[in-house]
């Protein structure tokens, strides 16, 4: 009885799935999905190699400092970094006095101790990076109706995050003529900027890194080309997304080493225990 009922139920579900397949196949042939500009012109991120890549990778602190400088002087005008506190910057190799000075260079929201009114004050190491806009409405108003995303986790929040950030920053270009010829409706609207690494190809952000030397790197640093600056800020955003990355990998190796050793011992003891018993 169960089997009879089961066979009927099985045939029912299979028939329903095949019915959907048949209908879908007919639709697929008679009404194929029209190609879109996004489908044909969107590009996967360019290759980017960072010091922190791979199981042995470690942050290049010098690069992180340069990346932080790019964030501070360029990105921070529109993008917040709300999960990062100034005190965290000590991990980039800044000493206490430098962290204090960096914090003091930012105005953070505060309360006037005399009147109780909201005001701003110079930042302290315990403060978090302040938001450039009071709220999303203000952000939209200033940015062609787009809210600039918070950058703290951006390299984890996108596929191939660091390479994506790097590609986006260096990927602005004129819209290809063939795109406009093939998809006249997909012409980049006024106020947006064409970038094939962005999901829908048109981005409200204007090219932020435009000329060599836009950020003045200190002595002993490489030349601040647009490509260099984009790489550096990507590296910095890998750090903001996961400050514990170095520690994670450094912890991983001894753990794996111990486990390997313990597993070999476990294998040998298993062999020893089973020596007089043939099993499987």
């Amino acid at each position: 009885m169960i089997r009879l009922f089961g066979i009927l139920a099985g045939l029912f579900f299979s028939a329903a799935a095949l019915w959907a397949f048949g209908n879908g196949a007919v639709n697929y042939i008679t009404d194929p999905t029209a190609p879109t500009a996004e489908h044909e012109f969107h590009l996967l991120p360019k290759e980017l190699n960072l010091a922190s890549d791979g199981p042995f990778g470690k942050f290049d602190k010098q690069q992180l400092q340069r990346g932080f400088q790019v964030y501070k002087e360029v990105c921070s005008a529109c993008h917040s970094l709300r999960h990062v506190a100034f005190r965290d910057l000590a991990a980039l190799g800044y000493n206490e006095a430098e962290v204090k000075a960096i914090a003091a260079g930012f105005q953070v929201p505060g309360i006037d101790p005399a009147t109780g009114e909201t005001t701003t004050r110079p930042g302290l190491p315990i403060d978090y990076f302040p938001k450039p806009f009071a709220n999303d409405i203000a952000a939209r108003a200033a940015n062609n109706n787009a809210v600039p995303p918070d950058l703290s986790l951006i390299t984890k929040a996108r596929h191939e995050g660091p390479a994506y950030v790097y590609s986006l920053l260096t990927g602005f270009q004129d819209q290809p003529a063939e795109l406009v010829a093939k998809f006249p409706d997909a012409k980049t609207p006024n106020g947006l900027h064409y970038n094939p690494y962005f999901a829908n190809l048109n981005l409200a952000m204007a090219p932020p890194l435009t000329s060599e030397g836009q950020v003045a790197y200190g002595e002993g640093n490489p030349k601040p080309t647009v490509d260099r600056m984009a790489q550096d800020v990507s590296a910095f955003l890998v750090w903001t997304a996961e400050p514990s990355l170095d520690k994670r990998k450094q912890t991983g190796w001894p753990v794996l080493g111990f486990l390997l050793f313990a597993t070999v011992l476990a294998y040998l003891s298993k062999k020893e225990i089973w020596r007089d018993k043939k099993g499987h």
Binding site: R3, A20, K277
Partner: protein, 427 residues
């Protein structure tokens, strides 16, 4: 029940004797997972996964309880509290990655455990109850994992919760009120997040209770084995301890190496980047996908794109998705072949390796892919096969198949001969 030749617990130390009289817990453990439990001597490494699943449950409970000390189940700050764990809590990143990857590891282990059961016929009499309890555990795991994924309150958390609770909305008449009752609102919000947290904390302990029943039921007939031939004599078995504790210890080591390699070097590989974006009810992600361990079932859900007879497509998908697991409950009565092990079932084996396994892998792949062609059409074919396999092919194969000859006993399968075989006629 145990076999008559099982070792007996005899406490030697006066303290242990005293304990045994008052509360025979050591005796219980000795008989359950110690030298007092005789186990077939021929178990292969596929029999490691039960113990590993138990280990994963403990791992998830320990890391989860620690995470709950720092996590805030409030829609306003849940996302930030997760980042607080990652950044400010000492070793918080380790606990969170261990828990997130631990869920994946748990499902890997449990899927291998289940497919071990499929192949070796572990669900057959006299072990039906063990199987039924196992399916209950799996369903509880799915509910727990789903609610756990909602807790970080990222984009996939929110939209996953919306899609899955939306499934209840497909039920005729009561669907929408039921969905609102489950969520405590019209869409996932603070009420839903709070109850999901509460249940996510509770369910693992329910799972632990059902695991105890699962093991209790196991100890009545004893463990199955790769030949599917029941234990006949003492030479067919070895005591669980030290033979299988040693073997499981080695298996645990291999498991931990793989798990820790993921945890320390690719902790986000199995997650979705969108879940690092805070939940935003106003912005739908381009592709809403659950975690990988739900992909086969998600593919079945999405395979029903057209109304069938008088049943709306959405309801059909929901029915099929739930049925795809519910059929497992009926497996002991669908597969009537008296031979348990796939090793001796030539036809069953072909359908298992060339039908079921590829189907489930294809469904998994399509469930993770965007809902566009050709993935939808492929998952429709695979879904059709999936139901045919369990509900039509298995019963038919059981009745037409001619199984290969079985060994007389486990001992014979291991040693090539069994002295007892000469004394008694083979049945």
């Amino acid at each position: 029940m145990s076999f008559p030749w099982a070792n007996h617990y005899e406490p030697k130390h006066p303290l242990m004797q005293w304990m045994d009289e008052k509360l025979p817990l050591p005796r219980f453990v000795y008989n359950a997972i110690g030298a007092g439990y005789p186990v077939p001597r021929n178990l292969n490494y596929f029999w490691n996964f039960g113990v590993l699943a138990g280990f994963c449950l403990v791992l998830q409970i320990v890391t989860g309880v620690i995470l709950a000390m720092h996590y805030a189940p409030n829609a306003l700050i849940a996302f930030d509290s997760t980042e607080h764990i990652m950044r400010d809590v000492n070793w918080g990143w380790l606990m969170r990655y261990a828990h997130a990857n631990g869920a994946s590891a748990f499902f890997v282990v449990v899927y291998l455990h289940i497919f071990r059961g499929f192949f070796f016929g572990s669900y057959k009499a006299p072990r039906e109850m063990i199987w039924l309890l196992g399916v209950v555990i799996f369903l509880l795991m799915m509910a727990t994992a789903f609610m756990g994924y909602v807790l970080p309150w990222g984009q996939m958390s929110f939209w996953g919760a919306k899609v899955i609770t939306g499934l209840f909305g497909a039920i005729p008449l009561v669907g929408e009120p039921l969905q609102q009752w489950l969520l405590g609102g019209f869409a996932p919000d603070n009420a839903a997040l709070n109850r999901f947290f509460s249940l996510h904390f509770l369910l693992p302990f329910v799972i632990a209770a059902v695991v105890i029943l699962h093991i209790w039921a196991l100890h009545i007939p004893g463990s199955s084995n790769p030949t599917g031939v029941e234990v006949k004599t003492e030479s067919d078995t070895v005591p669980f301890h030290p033979y299988y504790t040693a073997k499981d210890g080695f298996g645990l080591g291999v498991f931990l190496i793989l798990y820790c390699a993921m945890l320390f070097f690719l902790p986000n590989a199995l997650g979705h980047p969108d879940n690092y974006i805070p939940a935003n009810p106003m912005a739908t992600p381009a592709h809403i996908v659950p975690e990988w361990y739900f992909w086969p079932f998600y593919a079945i859900l999405r395979a029903f794109t057209f109304d069938f007879l008088f049943i709306p497509a959405k309801l059909m998908g929901v029915l099929a998705m739930f049925s795809s697991i519910l059929v497992w409950f009926f497996l002991p009565w669908l597969d009537t072949s008296p031979v348990r092990s796939g090793h001796y079932r030539p036809l069953f084996r072909k359908f298992f390796f060339f039908g079921l396994i590829p189907t489930v892998l294809v469904l998994g792949y399509c469930g993770g892919a965007p809902a566009v062609e050709p993935y939808v059409m492929i998952s429709q074919i695979a879904t059709a096969y999936y139901f045919l396999h369990f509900l039509v092919i298995l019963p038919l194969v059981s009745s037409i198949e001619r199984p290969e000859p079985l060994p007389y006993s486990i001992t014979e399968s291991v040693l090539g001969s069994d002295d007892n075989a000469d004394l008694k006629p083979a049945s």
